[in-house]
């Protein structure tokens, strides 16, 4: 009742103390005086303005395209990282509790919750081992980095930050815990301050650091968690370059689909077929992409299936329908943690009992049903055993059961497994539980004409959380082949009366229908599956005159030539071909008769096609395609003009019939419309031109930043618009699976260890590979900020990809385990790395510019190899190796640009090339059981240390004391210039020159320059 009464508007008091107070406050707008911050001088004002502008610029970042769709983005991955015992699980529990109002006891793997209208969060707790930390670094959008306040930073934290740096540095919020252990308030304050300072130094000044006090009821205080959740919900994310170029997925569910029989036969060693589930992130995932699973290796995708969103965003519709009682059970998606309701899907049935019931929790009373389901999950025996123990009664009324073995173990279990193999050697198992648990014999045996023997158990069939081949499952889901669940009671009755059902016959009769189902045939790519439909559609399209090119090109088996010729009767021939080889539609048939045709770009124009241009009419018909031709709106040629006219007529007819009584006004408007619109368009264009010319040209011009952002948003709008009203199958064909969609990916030939040692606490990341990344080659990288290059052989990754190098992944190493971080610079198929090598020798005989050199080589053959090589002396005289000398072995003749000295050392600069080994060994940490850490190949030094071996010692490479023979220099003899010389010099200085000067040199008289004279003294 009270709702309907209009509430009275608030009336502020106009007199009294309150009003006075308000009036007083009205004068000042701000808490501070504006004038106080006004610049006092012009120079100061300029400086302030400049500073403000600079600060403005720091806000700007290079515009990046965000590939995640706006409408349904994938959940934000919030990783909780920290050293052991810091309270990670408690934080996840608290956060999940905050969003779902449910307490999860046993959290394993990612937990997805809805945090708002447009945001979902996936929480994942990170293990403390290094490979998990690296995997988390690859995918986390936001990291809650937990630090033990009472202990301080640990090495793991720093290592993790370094890993993050190499992976593009996602957002980080620090969380300080265990602060309640610090009792003294001053110590607490000081600790907070020092830790904050250190944290800021690691990330950036002002990075957010949260403080969580003690634990209450196994959770952090609700108010603190609420605060943290608010920070998470407003967090903005900048797309990271690598993630914006690759599709990836964090698996929140993992199933092994390999048939049990196969596993049993191979004793668990066969390669497995597994499915992983998760939200797609990054870019679109296309069919046929190869994926890399860190910790496993490169794998092929068998199929991708789009599934319904397990954690959909609330819509206006869903909010309306929501009841008050549902408020408590907010959606949470955590398949590995046993929460949520029952989910049926392709691979398994998930039975989850609401409340605090979890598997292994014996405190909660478990009913019979729960017990059964639990037992079903525990079934671990082979089919053979199940058959041995099962009872088969041929008819419901028969008193004695059929048995293959002597009835030794006749106690009936609550579930029965049984199998009869059909001719195709396939085994199928359906366990059945009867309604009330008393009547177990609701089975019927079916015999088919084609000798397929199958056993159908009816009654409530609950499928075990089982691993079974996909094709089997799809059959079940089709509902066409096997009588399943819904018709159980009828069938049960029939069975009792001894009726033989032949449902398999129905199935056999419509093989085409089955392929209609997208999921029915996993062996083929999707586009091949509904071929017959497409062929029919193609025929229809043919009848409709206009060719549907998408279908012709991508779905039909016609050869390009047939398509071009529009060969209709080819469809008959095609049908025959189809029967023969369904598989390779795109192989070219030799029957096309183009053995002699060449691969040419220029299409031969047939002369008869060109002949039409001889007439003036045809020549005129294309006038409108030239700028001199008339505009499109009033077509020049008669043909198209007529077309428009007829169209108009038709339109008018319609109009008349529809609106006879409305009078002529709409018709007039129609007539006027085309002209009016063209006129309006012309006016608009003129106006724009005028504006451009007369307005300030700078006003319309945007800065680079705004322009780039606008271009990006325009392109994204185009992307959305282009495929907005295209059906989902075509969309997937053209653009792949969009990020944000929940998909199931089936992977083939996965090593069995992955499924055997699967541990949900280790993150399972599926990363799509770009086409270039499937190759191998030499990758050159450089650690950042250092002049150091390194080259190794491995899978190719694009230049500018970050990387980090580790010496070992072992736990329990006190030191910082990250050896290097850097970026990829270059990739190549071969690489040339050279070592500098200097050969030295000494001259033993010197002529003018020629010298005989020894001690560089040991034989004439070696010299022959180096003939023509460049030489250099220590003093910088360049020369060349000429020819070997016969006498001292390895001596050779060399020429130089100048006379070398006996004291010179002559060296030859050479390069010794090294080929890096083509060795690549991926870390397979996910193939190992949780406890054991991955061990790489030991380094030689490590092996020696462990084996207690000494380093092999080459006597030649040992350093010996350098013994240099002391060199004897002849004393410099200063010649006292004779009288004649003195005269000659005087004459030369005075400018006589001529004979006297020549005479002095002819006499061999020494005339020292002033400098030399100084030296002599």
């Amino acid at each position: 009742m009270s709702d309907q009464r209009p509430s009275k508007a608030h009336q502020p008091s106009r007199s009294g103390k309150k009003a006075e107070k308000k009036a007083r406050g009205k004068g000042k707008h701000n808490a501070f005086n504006d004038k106080a911050f006004a610049p006092r001088s012009g120079r100061r004002a300029e400086r302030q303005g400049r500073r403000a502008a600079e600060r403005d610029q720091t806000r700007l970042h290079v515009p990046l395209v965000d590939r995640t769709p706006d409408d349904v983005p994938p959940p934000v991955i919030v990783a909780i990282v920290g050293p052991p015992g810091v309270g990670k699980s408690t934080l996840v529990k608290s956060l999940v509790r905050r969003y779902t109002k449910q307490t999860l006891n046993d959290i394993r793997g990612p937990v997805t919750v809805i945090s708002g209208k447009k945001r979902r969060l996936t929480f994942i707790e990170c293990n403390t081992d290094l490979s998990s930390m690296i995997d988390i670094g690859k995918i986390a959008d936001l990291v809650l980095l937990m630090i033990d306040g009472s202990f301080g930073f640990e090495m793991e934290t720093f290592e993790f930050l370094n890993i993050l740096q190499a992976h593009g540095f996602p957002k980080v919020i620090g969380v300080l815990t265990h602060l309640d252990l610090i009792k003294k308030a001053t110590t607490l304050r000081a600790t907070k301050k020092t830790l904050k300072k250190r944290f800021w130094a690691e990330i950036y000044q002002g990075a957010k650091l949260f403080y969580l006090s003690g634990v209450l009821n196994g959770r952090y205080p609700d108010s603190e968690i609420l605060n943290l959740s608010r920070f998470i919900s407003v967090m903005k994310f900048r797309p990271l370059v690598f993630r914006n170029a690759h599709p990836y997925l964090l698996a929140d569910r993992f199933e092994d689909l390999t048939s049990r029989e196969q596993i049993r036969l191979s004793k668990g060693k066969c390669d497995r077929t597994v499915t992983v589930y998760g939200y797609l992130r990054g870019t679109n995932l296309r069919e046929g992409t190869k994926v890399h699973v860190p910790g496993v290796g490169d794998l092929d995708i068998n199929t991708i299936t789009l599934l319904g969103d397990p954690c959909p965003f609330p819509t206006a519709e869903s909010e309306k329908r929501r009841k008050l009682s549902e408020k408590k059970t907010l959606l949470v998606h955590a398949p590995m943690s046993d929460v949520g309701g029952v989910t049926y899907d392709k691979d398994a049935v998930w039975v989850n009992v609401p409340g605090s019931f979890t598997r292994g929790n014996r405190d909660v009373p478990q009913g019979e049903g729960e017990q059964m389901v639990m037992d079903l999950q525990d079934v671990n025996e082979t089919l053979e055993h199940a058959v041995a123990r099962s009872q088969i009664r041929l008819l419901g009324s028969s008193s004695k059961s059929l048995s293959l073995y002597p009835p030794s173990n006749q106690h009936t279990p609550s579930h029965q497994g049984s199998e009869v193999e059909d001719e195709g050697q396939k085994a199928q198992e359906l366990t059945s539980i009867s309604d009330d648990g008393s009547d177990i014999g609701d089975e019927e045996l079916q015999y088919d004409e084609d000798e397929n023997v199958e056993l159908h158990f009816t009654g409530r069939s609950t499928r075990r959380v089982s691993r079974r081949p996909a094709d089997r499952l799809s059959e079940i889901h089709d509902g066409t082949g096997i009588d399943y669940a819904e018709s159980d009671s009828d069938l049960g009755e029939d069975g009792n009366e001894g009726t033989l059902m032949a449902s398999d016959l129905d199935r056999g009769s419509d093989p085409v229908l089955q392929t209609d189902n997208e999921e029915a045939d996993d062996e083929f790519p999707k586009w091949k599956s509904n071929l017959s439909d497409q062929v029919n559609a193609f025929k229809l399209a043919q009848r409709n005159k206009r060719k549907d090119w998408t279908k012709l090109i991508y779905y039909s088996a016609l050869s390009p030539r047939q398509i071009m010729q529009g060969e209709l009767n080819a469809s008959d021939r095609k049908k025959d071909e189809e029967k023969d080889d369904n598989d390779d539609f795109f192989t070219l048939k030799a029957t096309d008769g183009d053995v002699d045709s060449l691969d040419t770009t220029k299409e031969k124009c047939p002369p008869n096609q060109l002949a039409k241009w001889a007439t003036e009419e045809t020549l005129d018909s294309i006038r409108h395609l030239f700028i001199t031709g008339l505009s499109d709106t009033i077509p020049a040629d008669d043909a198209s003009g007529r077309d428009v006219a007829t169209n108009d007529d038709v339109f008018d007819e319609d109009e008349r019939t529809n609106s006879d009584n409305e009078g002529d006004t709409p018709r007039k408007a129609d007539d006027a419309d085309p002209q009016a619109t063209t006129l309006a368009a012309k006016k608009e264009a003129l106006k724009r031109k005028f504006d451009e010319q007369y307005d300030d040209p700078d006003s319309t011009k945007q800065d680079f930043y705004a322009e780039a952002k606008e271009a990006i948003s325009a392109q994204q709008a185009l992307n959305r618009a282009e495929f907005a009203n295209v059906d989902i199958a075509t969309r997937i064909l053209v653009e792949g699976y969009q990020p944000g969609s929940y998909v199931r990916i089936e992977l083939n030939s996965v090593p069995c260890e992955m499924s055997e040692h699967f541990d949900p606490s280790r993150p399972l990341v599926i990363g799509g590979l770009l086409s270039a990344e499937e190759q191998f080659g030499f990758v050159q990288y450089t650690p950042e900020h250092m002049h150091c290059y390194a080259t190794f052989y491995g899978p190719i990754s694009a230049p500018n990809t970050g990387f980090c190098a580790l010496n070992s992944l072992e736990d329990g190493i006190a030191a910082f385990r990250i050896a290097a971080t850097g970026v990829v610079l270059d990739i190549d198929r071969s690489v040339k790395i050279v070592k500098k090598l200097k050969l030295t020798g000494v001259p033993y005989k010197i002529f003018k510019n020629t010298a005989f050199v020894k001690d560089m080589f040991s034989s004439a053959l070696e010299v022959a190899k180096f003939e023509g090589a460049n030489l250099r002396t220590v003093s910088g005289i360049r020369g060349q190796v000429k020819k070997a000398l016969p006498k001292p072995d390895g001596a050779f003749r060399a020429t130089f640009e100048d006379k070398v000295l006996m004291s010179d050392i002559i060296f030859l600069r050479a390069w010794y090339s090294i080929q890096p080994r083509k060795f690549y060994n991926p870390v397979t940490s996910l193939l190992l059981s949780s406890g054991s850490g991955w061990m790489g190949m030991r380094l030689t030094g490590q092996v020696r240390r462990e084996q207690n071996l000494s380093v092999p010692h080459n006597r030649d490479s040992a350093y010996k004391p350098i013994v240099r023979p002391s060199r004897r220099f002849n004393p410099l003899k200063a010649i006292i210039p004779s009288e004649a010389c003195r005269i000659a010099r005087t004459r030369r200085e005075e400018g006589f020159g001529g004979d006297a000067a020549n005479a002095s040199t002819a006499k061999g008289c020494y005339s020292a320059e002033t400098r030399e004279k100084k030296g002599a003294r």
């Binding site: 053995v595 086409s771 230049p799």
Partner: protein, 359 residues
Amino acid sequence: MTLHYSGHLYFRHRLVLAILSGKPIKIDKIRPGDKNPGLRDYEVGLLRLIEKVTNGTVIEISLTGTAILLKPGIISGGPVAYECPSSRSVGYFLEPIIMLAPFSKKPLALTLRGITTDDKDLSVDLIRTVTLPHLEPFGISDKLELKIKKRGSPPLGGGEVLFLCPIVKQVKTLNFVDPGKIKRIRGIAHAVRVSPQFSNRMIEAARSVLNRYIPDIYLYSDVYKGEESGKSPGYALSLVAESTTSALHCAEAVSQPGIAPEDIALHATRSLLTEVERGGCVDQKHQSLVLLMMVLGSEDVGRCRMAEPTERTVQFLRDVRDAFGTSFKIVPVDTSDQSPQLLYSCYGVGYVNTNRTLA
């Protein structure tokens, strides 16, 4: 993930797709029933050329030459010289190289010697004036050049061209849906080792047809003399029509024995008119080049309006799907309109030139 094809057709674009996608390719049944089975000399020549411009490419040719296996390496580029066999013109070799060159490690400077103009492949004139401008909207324009140093007519050739191509990190997304109207026509009439009057006669004949449409027509007479004119006589006319939105359409005709130059010119002119009538934003001969660049663009929607696909284009689209897993959406431009033009749109694969060196 090996690509597997049969038959000798579409040899070039299949190799290009394999190299760009990095997937090994196996082609078998190459002319198995022919009198002269296996690869032709020009196909082997193309493989040689590919080996020269790439690093680490492994090519295995079967004993009979009817099957090849190519494991692509990286496209290295740099200065390369190659003597083309005289069975095909330079255009045969240039077309696939143009598709590869922007994604190489170093800018490519390729010298090709051989026949420059013949009736099977695009002549160097068309490649220079039409093919290379087609790359401009994809952001490949700076320092993109084809220099015709010498001309060479069949059968002996003797021409020489220098192809320079810059490298790009990623090609831009194309959005080209307005074909515009033809605003100018350009043409090159060349004659080597014949009377220079021949080219003038061709120009005259072509003008007689084209003059009615627009005044902006320039047909150049390009005569090469002496050493630069190659070893055999020949002449040809190539025509290019450019629209207001710089959509290009081209046609050409090459001299044939016993046919007057006027007829050659008429053939070229009428082929051009056919091309113009087909319309669209891209010339029919360059459909696969443009479609390839659209596929390689960033992960956005690229759109282009073109005429109906040719046989080669149809097969090319199928092969693109095998190599890159991407299909095109092909719809008529306007459902009410009767024009046969189609709108091709695709979602780029975000191909990044990984061969590029950073430092």
